[in-house]
Amino acid sequence: MKNKIRNLSFASVALLLSSQVLADNSLTVVSWGGAFTKSQVEAYHKPFTAKTGTEIVSEDFSGGLAEIKAQVESGNVTWDLVSLDKPDIVRGCAEGLLEPLDPKLLQPGNDGTPANQDFVDGAIHECAVASIVVSNILAYDKSRYSGESTPSKLKDLFDLKKFPGRRALQKQPQGNLEWALLADGVAPDRIYPMLETREGRDRAFRKLDTIKSNVVWWTTGAQPAQLLADGEVVMTSAFNGRIDSAQYVEGKPFEIIWDHQIGYMNGWAIPKGTKNLKKALEFAVFSSSTQALADQARWIAYGPTRKSSAAMLDQELLARLPTAPENYQTVFLFDDEWWIDYADELNEEFNTWLAR
């Protein structure tokens, strides 16, 4: 009798928690949607499922830590892995929202190089492993510039005389303030110290003021290519992979300006308290292997963070990546740590400036 009751209650609990039971053999992986998610599905999810039998449930989000914070604070963590930008990884880690990731778990490169040497600097973080280098670039539609001179430099973003028309920029201070100062002639290594001062910030906002009334602000990664295709803007900032997809997959006459591209990393992080920690770690390790990273680059033009992966790619593809030497000459490296400290105040100033 007692056993029966126990069985019955077990059954009902099992029924109630069926989602959890299901979760035992699946992982909820959250990413940014569109071409980017597709590249991850092809390069990571499918091979992982084939290898382990674990089903991957793919969800979309639009970046940021809000949902993770909500899940962690309520103790109901339903996301197992989240594709986060490096600044969010650093911040989420500092706020205790992410599970630590032991770098020792990471596989060596396929050429035998230990992981800590195979990955580029900054890719391995205590809470995540970055898998790609994303680049913030400028893009334009070359069919709109028949015969005339085409924009080619960052300075052209701010040159309304030579290149009239509206531009689209991402609605955040990150990147825009750096570009403003760079275009204003500030040396790259002086940018962040300058942004710590009132004068430096005012100078950046003054530079942005010169084009403010001609700027359309975008918020999701898919928007820039759309705005460009619709003719809403003549020039836009964008993640290079999105423009690359538009160029090579959809055949759009877009052109990328690599001058002063701002590179930052993106990778898998695990929300604190996930019920599938072991599997999630397994996925993070699997998806950061040499093969997986090289595969992803074939689906979207973001640079792999492993040197061994880059070595596997053909020349034509390598030239389209942010890390190609020709593209990389004037690269500006985004300072995640600096932005952790200053994001709050600059966000506030940026929003106030925007609303004025």
Partner: protein, 432 residues
Amino acid sequence: MKYEAISAGALDESQTIGTPSTNNSLKMQLRRAERWNRTRAFLLVVPLLLFVGVTFIMPIMDMLHRSIHDPLIVDHLPKTVAALESWDRQQIPEDTTYAVLAQELVSLHKQRDLAKVAGRLNTEFSGMRSLLSKSARGLARLNAGAGLESAADTREAMIRIDARWSDIQPWAAIKNLNSRYTLSYYLAALDMHYDVSGDISAQPERRQIYKALLIKTFAMSALITVLCLLLGYPLAHLLATLPESRSNLLMIMVLLPFWTSLLVRTTSWIVLLQTEGVINDVLISIGLISERIRMVHNLFGTVIAMTHILLPFMVLPLYSVMKNISPSYMRAARSLGAKPAYAFIHIYLPQTLPGIGAGAILTFILSIGFYITPALVGGRSGQMISNFIAYHMQTSLNWGLAAALGGILLGMVLLLYFVYNRLIGINSLKVG
């Protein structure tokens, strides 16, 4: 009257004596019967009550609580808060206070809690996040090395790490948050703050944003409400007076967008209004304009799209009121000698006031809380308060401020409701 009084007195007496009269037991029976009826009625609505409680009341209560609840600093810097208790805000605190803070900062840094604390303080005084994380890192390095001998050394070390420690501002920021419940989020939502001396004062102009935004949100909502009324009134009148067969068709045309997804409608407005869009194409081709006009990603686009989306909320209450106004009123007015315009203004319009009130209040309340449409077509100038609430929820993670902005919005709506009730009477509200 007299008899009643006497019998009532008799009843009282019988009760005090304790002999239940027939009258009394009748009352009890009635009460019992009614209690059963009430219980049954109550049981019928229990599921709904629970649902509303869990999905509506509790979140709102939680939001209102969050907008004033702020235990972070008290919980994480308890000793510093205690040490600052007697601080007079006139000059920098005693060296021991520096030592206490240094110790707490380092341990917070180790426990990964510093980011939260620094983030909260940063919303009080811009720059606190960088100051605290820089100091914590520096102090942790010093501790790992030789360590600091005295409290005075600690003070000097901190000032060496960042000169801002020689100022009273960071200390005032900590002291301002020395209570578990605070108004600081509400102050921030109204462009005010506790200043260095602990008094409430306006934010410097450079940081003012929400007051103007609130006013803009209200102005936009009022404009949208007026536009909806101007467009919806004749339409509702037509609907109410046309013969059934034709009015049904028209009604479906009014409701069709109502059944379409909000996102679909909003994005179709983008397609229509954008620079290379249909409307610009048409205007150019008929030669009305030579330069393409910018109609989307700005205030104009937001107002147009929101007016379209909210129009049914104006039309339906108006329609339901107009449907019940007999055409004989207008005929009576005309036969009594009133010109059409006079009859409309003095007879028809006043009778549609409950519908206008319901439609306007519905449209206005919905539009001050509108989020998706301004987010998609608003651009820079078409942003409303809800977009900033979303920003603080999703991006800056300043949930306290988001809650305070939400609380203000809620308060405004309740105020509006109250005013409406006073002026027109909520009972006359006719929604459908």
